[in-house]
């Protein structure tokens, strides 16, 4: 045991000093590793930022991270599949941490007609205060006003829908839907606000009316279509949605966003794969330089490697020495690269304006500001990729060094 430890210290000394013998070559390689590591973390942070933004945007329109429905509602989102407004234990849970906002809302298919045109839409009967707690921003109402209470008699529609219906603020439109007895329910209603959304499809689809107004129109009493709940952190939802499910009881269907929206879930899952692919690609570019550096370093030292073997250093230890040299270089590059990433990415977390290229990205559900998110996970992942692949790449020159015949190596001039 003692022998192994002491030998490790001589290997370390040799590796360290040999590394700085050709400080220019080592320096260049170090810079390459630093830049590579920095790029790995930056790209992951950008991808995470984009994906997080897409997920958050998606959850604002979903809305919420957890929803409670009638079990048949998701197949048939009609007024027949409604549920009672929350009460008792469920209501108590909704008003305490980690829940930060919730809404009991009606969401049914409806037809909206102006004197010019008509469209199929999703009629939302809401309590505006609750919607705001779920992420609806009243500042997005660009003309007129948002609803003022659950019994507001007005209608708030999207900018795009107003264009399509060729209607405008203060005009009346007709809303038509089915009541629970399959009778047509319709009423004229005045457009009191026009909102804009990040996605055009949202502007076309969602129209907001007061919850009590819709309940009266459809003869629903106090029943609703869904309870949408947020805790403001989509990653943490796994920790609490089951308690909501229990409180809601077995007769209702309680689901987290991953199951409500398969697209958002697959975005999240792809993120990790993207990161690994990017890191491995960057590393492959680096590894050519690394292997070359080591091959040169070994080639220049053939005689001393022969000498060390002749003096009784085992071939395996020659290999460790070269691997150690590589490891020191990689670890130095990782430390500096990670610090550089911290120093440059943290200030960017407040957002980078990408409106110049945002028109295309909006299709993918993103806004015009990108928020890179630096995660410990990225730093650990890049470290793992660099160390594991780096040592694998170094095995070739290290193994070659250990195969030298000491006499021939010593005789090399």
């Amino acid at each position: 045991m003692a022998a192994t430890r002491l030998s490790a210290s001589i290997l370390l000394t040799l590796a360290w000093r040999n590394l700085w013998r050709n400080y220019r070559r080592t320096g260049i390689m170090l810079v390459a590793i630093v830049v590579g590591v920095w790029a790995m973390i930056l790209f992951s942070a950008l991808i995470s930022g984009m994906v997080d933004e897409m997920v958050r945007g998606g959850l604002r329109t979903l809305p919420g991270e957890v929803q409670v429905h009638h079990p048949a509602y998701r197949d048939d989102p009609s007024v027949a599949n409604s549920i009672d407004a929350p009460e008792g234990a469920l209501l108590a849970l909704l008003n305490q941490s980690p829940v930060t906002g919730w809404a009991a809302r009606i969401r049914v298919p409806a037809m909206i007609s102006s004197e010019r045109d008509n469209r199929g839409v999703q009629l939302l009967g809401v309590d505006p205060a609750q919607e705001i707690s779920l992420g609806f921003d009243p500042a997005d109402v660009v003309q007129g006003r948002f609803l003022q209470g659950p019994d507001d008699n007005g209608l708030v529609i999207g900018r795009k829908l107003a264009e399509q219906l060729e209607t405008e603020l203060d005009k009346r439109v007709v809303i038509m839907s089915q009541d629970p007895d399959n009778n047509v329910a319709e009423r004229g209603i005045r457009v009191v606000g026009i909102y804009r959304a990040r996605l055009q499809s949202t502007e076309e689809l969602n129209v907001y009316a007061g919850r009590a107004t819709v309940q009266k129109l459809l003869g629903l009493g106090t029943r609703v279509s869904e309870i949408a709940i947020t805790g403001d952190d989509f990653r943490a939802v796994g920790g609490w949605w089951r308690t909501i499910e229990q409180a809601a009881g077995p007769d209702l269907e309680t689901l987290p966003w991953m199951q409500l929206d398969g697209y958002l879930e697959s975005m999240m899952n792809l993120q990790t794969s993207y990161n690994v692919i990017i890191m491995v690609v960057i590393f492959l570019a680096l590894s050519f330089g690394l292997v070359n550096t080591l091959v040169m370093a070994v080639f220049e030292r053939v005689r001393e490697i022969g000498l060390m073997m002749a003096l009784g250093m085992r071939p395996g230890w020659i290999m460790y020495q070269i691997l150690l040299e590589s490891l020191i270089l990689l670890v130095l590059g990782l430390v500096i690269g990670n610090l550089l990433a911290l120093a440059t990415i943290l200030p960017m977390e407040d957002g980078i304006d990408i409106s110049a290229v945002a028109a295309g990205l909006e299709m993918a559900g993103m806004g015009s500001t990108l928020y890179p998110t630096l995660e410990l996970q990225h730093m650990l992942m890049s470290t793992a990729v660099v160390v594991v692949l780096g040592l694998l790449a170094s095995l070739i020159p290290a193994w070659r060094a250990s195969r030298y015949n000491p006499v021939q190596a010593l005789a090399r001039t």
């Binding site: 002491l6 002749a310 003096l311 009784g312 250093m313 071939p315």
Partner: protein
Amino acid sequence: MTAIRCTHLNKTFTQGEQVIRGLDDVCIEIEEGSFVCLSGPSGSGKTTLLNAMGGLDQPDSGEILVGESRVDQLGKSALADMRLHSIGFVFQAFNLIPVLTARENIEFVMQIQGLPAAERKARAMAMLREVGLADHEDRLPSQLSGGQQQRVAVARAIVSNPTLVLADEPTANLDSASAIQLIELFRKLNRERGITFVIATHDTRVMAYCPRLIRMEDGRIISDELQSGIPGEPPAAAQ
């Protein structure tokens, strides 16, 4: 006891079309504690024979016994261990690790052997004093003269108390005074500790000190004789 026994060693090198007989049916027996000189013109096979004895290079045929070990049959790691623990080497051309100082080079073998740092340092310093380089301990090889480098190599070869020292032209770069000083140090270690020395040389100053002188030519042993009248010793001490 026999320290080294070589029987019918053969080794050929091919260089292009040419076949060179490095060793040609060499048989030698060297007793433990003896002090043997290998001499002969350049290219006569001295280095090749030393390399075979040290397990650095395998012969094409023949047997080599060093102590209890069949050197021609051991694996790479076992050979490395044997060299580490029982043989001290002085090589003809390249001896020191460039990134280590004089003292670290001397400590190198003890370090792989796993000796504690304090003991290593004390022994290395004592050895440096013995070869007259105590004030050069922190110099890198590139900051030492050829002769000084040679003395560091000798210090390294004997510092770890090997049972056998194989020295290839140890006095090649030394002036007369240093050469005689070095060979007297070898003799002293040979007498006091019983270390076996096999020295390849064409330096007549060295040969004069050797009780047994083996001459080689074209890979063959052409003479093997005992000498008396070694300087500084009564004739009876000759082996």
